[in-house]
């Protein structure tokens, strides 16, 4: 589960120029930037029919960076390969050991051990959860596949904990390294999951070891982050008490600081376990191993949705068990009686002894074969009956929301769908109306709103994927300047410029488009739900477990239900992204709106503010920084799902990464992965900047 305060979010770059401050000639920085954007946008629009380079970056100027990266990495890998292969061989041992242990043990024993553990750390509820969950896994017939997956997790988690823990301690101890390590952790958070796989595949060779290493790389950062955070948060008095008692540095660290940070470190352990599980499952896309992720993929490709749903449920069960058990371990609640634990274990051993003679083999269970068939049949029936409605939803969203965003109203509005043809005349009319509205707004002291309206109109008419690149760069630079001064502005422009120059601009715009579309929906819907939960306790009581649940299940699983109803395509991808990325928006909106200091609310009420006025004047402004952070998380979530969604039909950077994986093209994989990370990083820095600014303005 995500702890809001600890969720690793990227440090904000605080600038010095206030957005709200009035400039010398009455123009705030915000107005100036908006005005500049409008100007550049208008010029681009006017020139683009005559100057092709404005719409598409000239091929002559495109650097063959993809090839360079590919060649460079291939050469580098030739050097590293022997070491990497030896490491892979070394890792074979623990992997084989864990695998033999889990697959080889009688399932009755395995289930018994987990049930006993559940009892010991969480009493009857946890024991029941373990028993029922693993019972389902066994009955589903996916026991062997699950144990193959679990075997990898068993090896990758300790490795990730050790590596992450060491990195965290190192970052804390060596101040000169801290900034660098934190930056690397930030970047790793944004690098898409599939992007690790291609280079690893080349380096370590085809085999489950790739999944193992990918999951260590992916799961170590949360541990490192939380260890660092925990150590930083040790109270100065405790730290100094250890010094004054004559402890050496290592004694301080081992005897005092690390144990004092235990709670935060356990949060890290929980996050690491979840991340490792999730990545091991994702790594199934490289294929060939009989693990549970592969089962999902395989059944999905065969459109055997009943089976794939059941395999998905198995994954969810593991995720929930892992999450609940590790967070129960983190709470230092009471431990339950050893006697019961021992009796459960004993019973398990006894059953296990008779398992071979009395019970069917693990792979012979297929309790849900018929259930899967029923699901498939009723799904077919449902789609046949409601196909019109489903298609209506899908086509409606495509034609009236997604396509206009993607290729612009001027191309998306066709007689066939909208009932009329978009013409230049309409464009002129729309722009004129928007301009008048902008002027009216500006006269009423809402200059920024007015200009933003104009910009939004321009984007909507042109479409995100047709945006002229000079406009995009100017807009990002301007936002960067507003959010964090010159440094951030330069960062945003140069980073995005890099994507442009290496020829990945088109897929990048597609990513931006799909991300924008989903984030807009998440903000509207998630924001509304969050606000509703802030108003009504009961609504939150219902939503909270839903949010917990959605955040626990691995990304992969989101694909199954959408595919069931909407087949492969952009719309399904869009839905999956929304379903995953909406959670932070709900959570942070709720958190922000409910955590306004009571004093402030009371002060407002005492001044005679109505409920609605309290909301508008106090709650919303004070929750703005928190909600902005929620938006930030939503965007990061959307980007990580974007990559996974490549499996079900997108055309963006995520798809490039996925293609590169299939072709073993490191250059493309790394370049596209880096571009994706850049987009996420730029979005992250911009929003963090605005949030920091808002917090600063509120004196928080």
């Amino acid at each position: 589960m995500t702890d809001i305060s600890a969720s690793g979010s990227v440090a904000a770059t605080g600038g010095k120029d206030g957005t709200g401050r009035t400039g010398m000639n009455g123009m705030t920085p915000g107005v100036r930037i908006a005005f500049l954007c409008v100007l550049v946008g208008a010029i681009c629009l006017a020139l683009s029919p005559y100057q092709a380079w404005i719409r598409t970056w000239p091929a002559a100027l495109t650097l063959p960076a993809t090839e360079w990266i590919g060649a460079g990495l291939t050469t580098l890998f030739e050097f590293l390969k022997p070491a990497a292969r030896s490491l892979a061989r070394l890792l074979e041992y623990p992997m084989a050991g864990a695998n033999r242990l889990l697959v080889g043990s009688p399932y009755a024993l395995t289930i018994g051990v987990f049930t006993a553990l559940g009892w010991h750390i969480g009493g009857i509820r946890m024991a029941a959860l373990a028993l029922a969950g693993l019972g389902f896994v066994l009955a589903s017939g996916y026991w062997i596949a699950s144990m193959n997956t679990l075997g990898l997790v068993f090896v990758s988690v300790p490795l990730a904990l050790i590596v992450g823990g060491l990195i965290g301690v190192l970052a804390h101890e060596i101040c000169s390294l801290r900034r660098a390590i934190e930056t690397v952790l930030d970047i790793m958070q944004t690098v898409p999951t599939f992007a690790y796989l291609t280079p690893l595949l080349l380096l370590f060779g085809f085999g489950p070891v790739v999944g193992l290493i990918a999951s260590v790389i992916y799961a170590a950062p949360p541990m490192a982050r939380n260890v660092l955070l925990g150590l930083k948060r040790v109270e100065p008095d405790i730290r100094e008490a250890a010094i004054m008692n004559g402890a050496t540095r290592s004694q301080q660290l081992l005897l005092v600081e690390i144990p004092s940070a235990g709670r935060q470190i356990m949060v890290g352990v929980n996050q690491t376990i979840m991340a490792a599980l999730s990545m091991v499952i994702i790594a199934a896309v490289i294929g060939g191993f009989n693990d549970i992720g592969w089962e999902v993929l395989l059944t999905m490709r065969k459109a055997a949705f009943g089976q794939s749903l059941i395999a998905g449920v198995v994954i969810v069960i593991f995720a929930i068990l892992a999450d609940r058990m590790s967070s129960a371990l983190a709470r230092d609640g009471k431990r339950h009686s050893w006697k019961v634990t021992a009796s459960i274990l004993l019973a398990a051993v006894v059953i296990a002894l008779f398992q071979n003679s009395a019970l069917p083999a693990a792979q012979d269970f297929a309790a849900f074969k018929s259930a899967a068939a029923v699901i498939d049949r009723s799904l077919g029936a449902f789609i046949a009956a409601n196909g019109v409605i489903l298609d209506g939803v899908k086509n409606g969203t495509m034609f009236f929301v997604l396509l206009p965003l993607r290729i612009g109203l001027e191309k998306a509005v066709l007689p066939f769908t909208w009932g009329f043809q978009w013409t230049t005349g309409i464009s002129i009319a729309v722009f004129s109306i928007a301009t008048v509205a902008a002027i009216v707004l500006a006269l009423r002291n809402h200059a920024v709103a007015g200009l933003s309206l104009l910009i939004a109109t321009g984007i909507l008419v042109t479409g995100i994927t047709n945006l002229p690149w000079p406009f995009v760069l100017v807009a990002l630079g301007g936002l960067g300047w507003l959010a964090g001064g010159t440094k951030l502005s330069v960062f945003a422009v140069s980073m995005t410029g890099a994507i442009l120059s290496i020829g990945l601009w088109e897929p990048a715009l597609l990513s931006i488009y799909l991300c924008t579309a989903s984030v807009l929906i998440c903000v509207a819907v998630g924001g509304a739900i969050g606000a509703g939960c802030a108003v009504s306790e009961n609504a939150w009581r219902v939503m909270r477990p839903v949010c917990d649940f959605l955040q626990t299940i691995p990304l992969f699983v989101f694909l199954i239900p959408v595919l069931m109803f909407f087949q492969i395509g952009e719309f399904s991808a869009f839905l999956a992204i929304c379903a995953y990325a909406i959670v932070p928006m709900i959570r942070y909106t709720h958190h922000g709106l409910t955590s306004t200091p009571d004093e402030l609310i009371e002060a407002a009420v005492a001044s005679g503010a109505s409920e609605w006025q309290v909301m508008r004047e106090v709650r919303i402004p004070y929750s703005a920084p928190t909600i902005l952070l929620g938006l930030n998380q939503t965007i990061l979530y959307a980007f990580s799902m974007l990559v996974i969604a490549a499996l079900i039909g997108t055309t963006d950077l995520g798809q490039q990464i996925y293609l590169a994986l299939g072709q073993g093209d490191v250059g493309l994989g790394v370049a596209a992965g880096a571009s994706m990370a850049i987009l996420a990083l730029v979005a992250d820095r911009l929003i963090q900047g605005f949030a920091a600014r808002q917090r600063h303005a509120l004196g928080l």
Partner: protein, 350 residues
């Protein structure tokens, strides 16, 4: 010129926060001709924080030396510099004649294991250890065996009135109890020097008074040299042998409680003592004098030099002639005029 019996002797301590502080301080001092006030102003102008400026004092063996001042005046910084939790920017600090600023890391650890104890405002108890383990921690650092540690910890807990709670965790204790544990831990190694940084500020007044009394009792028995920080003037007057008053990083006055009350060095100090019932904290000895020729003294209300002004006044209020003051040794130590005593209270009440 450090005092022969000084347990701690500080000379010219500076603590400046900011980039390149030592260099900046040298430059500022050179530019202002070693005028520390002007140098501090210059440093502040350049964006550094001179939290402690050119502070010198001696703490005598066995005395309770209280540092007091408003929030942000640099008290904690000073004590942390002396205990080398923070590295001072300039100055010298001798503890029992040993220069601690040049002490090696190893020597520093030794000193802390054997000579120094510290009590913290927010207790600084280790949350994952029981009370006894907390108290035994410095002993563990000394390398003492587990059973000896436990025995010594119980002894210490008994001293601070916490017997029976040795296996509780800090989170199960009240604030007052936690600070008792903090004190027991600081005393466990029987240190020569005790640093206490606002040890009672986080506690409510009743508990605070109780712990102050206990501190005096323990102090009477153990006679530790203590440096005690507070921003509460009544606490300072009650506990101190001598008080140093700090303002914006500068020590503005050092003196006994009587001197602080009777002869405040400036308005800042006077402001502190404004609401203090002076008669209760000042003593006759600070107001008597010994003229060459004794005036006529028809009455002898048996006033001793250790009496508080309040008590003395109560017994000579009705008199209009000077009265003798008797010393501890039974001889006359001086004379005082009752109106002098009354005046002392009067003046400060305005």
């Amino acid at each position: 010129m450090s005092h022969p019996h000084a347990a701690i002797s500080c000379r010219g301590i500076w603590q400046v926060y900011g980039a390149d502080a030592p260099q900046q301080l040298k430059r500022a001092l050179a530019e202002t001709g070693n005028d520390s006030r002007a140098a501090a102003a210059l440093l502040r102008e350049r964006g550094l924080v001179p939290a402690v400026q050119d502070v010198s004092f001696d703490v005598l063996e066995g005395e309770v030396f209280v540092i007091m001042g408003l929030s942000g005046s640099g008290k904690s910084t000073l004590i942390r510099t002396i205990s080398r939790l923070a590295e001072g920017t300039a100055g010298s600090i001798l503890i029992h004649g040993e220069d601690i600023l040049t002490a090696s890391k190893q020597r520093l650890i030794e000193l802390r294991r054997n000579k120094l104890g510290m009590v913290f405002q927010h207790f600084g108890l280790f949350p994952h250890m029981t009370v006894a383990e907390n108290v035994g921690f410095p002993l563990k650092m000394q390398g003492m065996s587990r059973t000896d540690r436990r025995a010594r910890a119980l002894e210490m807990l008994d001293l601070v009135g916490l017997s029976g709670r040795e296996d509780a965790f800090p989170r199960e204790l009240s604030g007052g109890q936690r600070q008792r544990v903090g004190i027991a831990r600081a005393l466990a190694v029987n240190p020569d020097l005790l640093f206490l940084d606002e040890p009672y500020s986080a506690l409510d007044p009743l508990i605070r008074r109780q712990l102050q009394d206990e501190f005096l009792k323990i102090q009477a028995g153990l006679q530790k040299t203590s440096v005690f920080i507070t921003h509460d003037i009544t606490e300072a007057l009650k506990l101190a042998d001598r008080i140093a008053i700090m303002r914006d990083g500068v020590v503005v006055q050092i003196g006994t409680p009587d001197e602080i009350i009777v002869n405040p060095a400036n308005d800042y100090v006077r402001e502190f003592t404004r609401d203090v019932p002076k008669g209760r904290y000042s003593h006759v000895s600070s107001m008597m004098n010994m003229p060459e020729t004794l005036p006529a003294m028809p009455d002898d209300p048996k006033i001793g030099e250790d009496m508080t002004v309040d008590d003395a006044l109560a017994s000579c209020m009705a008199l209009y002639q000077p009265v003798p003051v008797w010393g501890r040794d039974g001889r006359m130590a001086g004379i005082v005029h009752p109106s002098q005593l009354a005046d002392a209270l009067q003046v400060e009440r305005t």
